[in-house]
Subunit: 355 residues, 2 copies
Amino acid sequence: MPQRIAVIAGDGIGTEVMPEGLRVLDATARKFALELDFQTFEFGSCDYYLSHGKMLPDDWFEQLKGFDALFYGAVGWPDTVPDHISLWGSLLQFRRRFDQYINLRPCKLMPGIKSPLAGRAPGDIDFYVVRENTEGEYSSVGGKMFEGTEREVIIQETIMTRTGVDRVLKYAFELAQSRPRKKLTSATKSNGISITMPYWDERVETMAANYPEVNVDKFHIDILTANFVLHPDWFDVVVGSNLFGDILSDLGPACTGTIGIAPSANINPQGHFPSLFEPVHGSAPDIAGKGIANPIGQIWSGAMMLEHLGHQAAADAIVSAIEAVLEEGNPAVLTPDIGGQGNTQTLGRAITEQV
Amino acid sequence: MPQRIAVIAGDGIGTEVMPEGLRVLDATARKFALELDFQTFEFGSCDYYLSHGKMLPDDWFEQLKGFDALFYGAVGWPDTVPDHISLWGSLLQFRRRFDQYINLRPCKLMPGIKSPLAGRAPGDIDFYVVRENTEGEYSSVGGKMFEGTEREVIIQETIMTRTGVDRVLKYAFELAQSRPRKKLTSATKSNGISITMPYWDERVETMAANYPEVNVDKFHIDILTANFVLHPDWFDVVVGSNLFGDILSDLGPACTGTIGIAPSANINPQGHFPSLFEPVHGSAPDIAGKGIANPIGQIWSGAMMLEHLGHQAAADAIVSAIEAVLEEGNPAVLTPDIGGQGNTQTLGRAITEQV
Ligand SMILES: CC(C)[C@H](C(=O)O)[C@@H](O)C(=O)O
Ligand SMILES: CC(C)[C@H](C(=O)O)[C@@H](O)C(=O)O
């Protein structure tokens, strides 16, 4: 039986890189004889919002829940729809309702990609950020009082649950255990955020007892961001709350120079609901419409999706193809952001051929 | 009448760098004929906690409130006192009770200090982080329910007030206005943290109307940390909430290679209560007791203190002395962290002589 994949391109460059992501997946499916069945949806974009007054149709959950995976482009177009509406109305709904409680992002120096850090070469930096993806600082609980006056007070709650914290820690510990270095770093801020963060630390300690082989350390988020820049080679698996994971999983790819090409996976590990795969970059209004967006983030996200669907060899083939094209470094093929004169399609095609 | 300064060395390397900070201030005071009157306090350290069961005496507020400034070393010794106790019991009390609502930190490439970023030279990076220092994510409001069970829920509130947000923004806008580039960047996360952060954005927009000459932009905290690494030259004055400011003011100095030597000021701009000046580095248990801690953060904090007390020329003289000693780069003088074979005292003395 074919695996069913829902395709949502979203906004801006999402609509430009998605065809290249699909092109590579098609070629890979042929080569590895995978049965993938793609179905495209228009909702989950600001265009849809402008004509329907909402980001998703009322029955989106029913429409999507039977799919094996969601392949997403990018959402957001702040000139017409405020980000907190577009994001809370789409991406953040998927993450919550499909209980995609893991957000996983690789931070890896790639051949041919310049790192902003001095003296680092491929192999030096290669770690994962595991982010809690459903609770914590991203709550919708809170409000205002004395609105519009000098006494105005605004409150928003950070909410952690034992279930929520333990399951992301478990995933991160198992990932660390499966890797050669078996190292796990926890992001905290228990010296300042004095209720939720000491609790996070406690659960890390409790969980660590189940994984005696894993070497655990923790840093406060302020110095941890500093260490991403100063000592990126220290890290193997880094686990953080929703907000801390969000920050670290942009900063990490920035340190490897891959922020424009990094992939991410929003995973429901039990598979009760579809997981979602999307590039880290957003809709990039500044370059949208020019056809020069780098499609690697979308393509690499496709590789993470195949891995999640059980096709490890096919996933590896895509990552190798990306690395080969970057290593070759043909300027006619590469997009401008990585020093080429090519465009979204030339780069997407080159990776497709390589597969 | 002399200006009265309360001196609290605190823990670990705090006790080692403080004498050098005072040595430089003494020399500067002599040279510029300043009347500074120093008084040392033992409280505000973990040693004090171990013998008294609290970080501060009950009358600390009365004892300190009449001083013109507090000169602080570093606090924290997690092996004996958990950080959230030592910090909430001292530093965070000072910030709150003395209403030091501005935390100000320079991020500046210094001569002779290696930046971890490729291809950056002194002059390329020179900005300030202005952090809200009394409210926001650092609240003590919240708690647990269903404690110890699978249903455990932990809640902590982020609390912003119009007063609190507006006054830090005002300070940041005025600072930006006073600088040649007149640029202000706001740290937000209104696409994910959907109650407090959209409010922050609103207040930035409202305040901006009063400063038409200031060029304002904003970034979500995740991509902002990435841009600190990728484009540190973009920034002039960066303003953020308590947590975001905390993160950015460690990351910024990390990008300039100055995290071990950066200063910080906790300011009450109205001067109703004393402001507090401390190095960014902590008590550094790993190198404490070895006499090799770099005293520049403490000395540079002394310069910020003199500036705050109205002695601009004396403050400039200290910063120039630091730069001169770093530029000279005599390995016999410099501490190991910046490539020397000297120690805390050799470096402190060299800067003193330079003044
Ligand atoms: C020690 C800690 C509570 C403190 C903070 O987070 O405010 C420190 O990181 C700082 O920036 O001064
Ligand atoms: C767009 C935004 C709401 C989102 C997040 O903060 O989760 C993004 O930054 C991400 O990391 O996927």
